[in-house]
């Protein structure tokens, strides 16, 4: 019994080490963003120098706004398209359903390097070109599979008899969807939308291949700055990005988890 107890506490200790490994670099980066020394000297000389420098950096701010617009457009489009497809999968058994569901995997399973370069080649070839519109095209494709997975998971706990009941009480198919099915799915929809936003907002590889020197998103600008060499403002903007995406995912977790119980 005693041995079992020590093993369990060793396990807990190991888990704590893993969390340290996962969070250490992020915490170090966040702390350094408050260090006024551009050479990351220690001990930290606390200041908001890099955040105020960031406020003056129009390049990074423009890129940030681009990221935001692309992510919002992606969220809207992917949530609507993905939810519609999930409804069809939920309600009907039809020929080719398996094939359609299998088609969701290429955007997730093929390395983004290959997806991104093939989009670059294709968009260039047919004249769509590069830029924010091309990024939205690409990001929506990446987000749709995630939306379908999240919404379908929520729909699985929905009792189809509710739809039958609504129909037998005289509701049209449209009313049934709008008044019965979608309200039930709402937590799943919110989680899916947040997910889609995060997929787009954090996306680097696809955006990198579809950006032009003038028009890019925040991750692409950050990458360019890292490659050029040292810019401590990057610490500040990276800390902000990490904070935003973690907040988003806590949001997803809240709606995704508690959704099943409501």
């Amino acid at each position: 019994m005693r041995r079992r107890y020590t093993l369990a506490s060793f396990g807990r200790f190991y888990l704590a080490l893993m969390l340290l490994f996962l969070y250490l670099p992020i915490v170090v980066m966040a702390l350094m963003s408050f260090n006024s020394s551009p050479f990351y000297r220690l001990p930290i000389d606390w200041s908001l120098t890099w955040y105020s420098a960031l406020a003056q950096n129009s390049r990074l701010i423009d890129a940030g706004l681009n990221s935001l617009w692309v992510a919002l457009a992606t969220t809207g489009l992917a949530t609507v398209l993905g939810t519609a497809a999930s409804l069809a999968f939920f309600r009907y058994d039809f020929k080719g359903k398996k094939v359609l569901q299998l088609l969701l995997f290429p955007p997730i399973a093929i390395p983004w390097l290959i997806i991104g370069t093939s989009m670059l080649v294709f968009f260039f070839w047919v004249g769509i070109g590069r830029g924010l519109h091309a990024m939205v095209l690409g990001h929506v494709a990446l987000a749709i599979p995630y939306v379908i997975i999240v919404v379908s998971a929520r729909l699985r706990s929905f009792d189809p008899h509710l739809e039958e009941a609504a129909r037998s009480l005289g509701a049209t198919s449209w009313q049934t969807t709008w008044r019965v099915t979608l309200p039930w799915t709402a937590p799943g929809l919110v989680a899916a939308a947040l997910f889609a936003f995060a997929v787009s907002f954090d996306q680097f590889v696809i955006s990198y291949f579809l950006s032009t020197p003038g028009v890019s998103t925040l991750p692409v600008e950050i990458y360019t700055a890292i490659r050029k060499g040292f810019t401590p403002e990057i610490n500040a903007v990276s800390t902000i990005i990490i904070a935003i995406s973690m907040a988003l995912l806590l949001g997803v977790a809240r709606f995704y988890r508690f959704g099943g119980e409501r």
Binding site: G11, L22, V28, Y40, A84, Y92, L137, A141, E164, D202
Partner: protein
């Protein structure tokens, strides 16, 4: 069945078909136009002698594929990338599996949910930023070097930045949550009574692990390995940031063909060779491993 009440009687299956098409059509047209068509066009480009834009003349050729088999350079890089993928996957399993086990079998209740969330959280945040954050830790006179020198005085510089191990550390950090997630799901499904029964019948801890837990968790391990191995093969930003000049892999070479050298056909051919080898490994390797375990 229950669902056909909504779908309508069998007689009006045409309207049912219309509804299905209206609901699934937009999403799938989008996926076809932005994923499947581009991949097909890229496959076509991989057989061209030049980029057919402007006045350039392109003819069909297998030269780009031949280049891979004729020049050692590409083969060596491909092997290097596969080694990197294998090593990262192995370390993710080695360190991730025990973590998943503790989470699934030792921790209980609310703590489990909270810890699970904490492990997933960094995983869904920006990958680029997380790789960049390692440069803060690994750089000369950075946190790690100072910590080591504080523990062991006069240890001197670690010299980890811009090395192969730095790339490994960054990639393991990026992908280990995948392994923890998939192993956790399959470990959680193992009935605790099975383990207790094996123990009470006299099996040692190691035997239980080898004969019971690992085989039952195998689908999860496999899923995690595939989810890690494939994207690591295509990684280019991670080796560039953490590896500097030694960070040349097949991914960075493919990226160069599209962004610097403008040799799209060669880049496309290398991409499809990589995908082809991955597919071969999945089709031949996975059933073989499954038979052994």
């Amino acid at each position: 069945m229950a669902r056909s009440a909504v779908a309508g009687a069998p007689g009006i299956s045409r309207s049912r078909l219309t509804t299905i098409m209206v609901l699934t059509g937009p999403a799938y047209i989008w996926l076809v136009v932005t994923v499947l068509l581009p991949l097909s066009v890229m496959l076509y480009f991989s057989f061209l002698s030049d980029v057919p834009i402007g006045k350039r003349v392109a003819v069909l050729t297998i030269e780009n594929y031949a280049a891979f088999f004729e020049k050692d350079f590409y083969r060596i890089l491909m092997l290097r990338s596969f080694r990197l993928g294998a090593e990262v996957t192995f370390y993710c399993f080695l360190f991730g599996f025990p973590c998943a086990y503790v989470l699934a079998k030792v921790i209980k209740g609310r703590w489990r949910e909270a810890l699970f969330l904490l492990i997933i959280l960094p995983f869904w945040s920006n990958a680029l930023v997380r790789i960049f954050s390692w440069t803060m830790v690994l750089r000369g006179n950075g946190i790690l070097e100072r910590a080591v020198n504080w523990l062991i005085p006069d240890f001197g510089p670690l010299g980890l930045m811009f090395t192969y191990p730095a790339i490994i550390v960054g990639l393991v950090h990026s992908y280990i949550p995948y392994m923890i997630l998939t192993c956790y799901i399959s470990l959680q499904a193992i009935d605790d009574h099975l383990i207790e029964a094996a123990r009470s019948l006299g099996a040692g801890r190691f035997t239980v692990l080898r004969r019971l837990v690992l085989p039952l968790a195998f689908p999860g391990i496999l899923a995690g390995a595939v989810l890690i191995f494939v994207p690591v093969l295509g990684s280019f930003m991670e080796p560039r940031i953490l590896g500097g000049r030694i960070g040349t892999f097949i991914g960075t070479i493919i990226e160069d063909q599209f962004t610097a050298v403008f040799n799209w056909p060669l880049g496309a051919a290398l991409s499809f060779i990589m995908l082809g080898i991955v597919l071969l490994i999945l089709l031949i390797g996975v059933p073989a491993v499954r038979r052994v375990i």
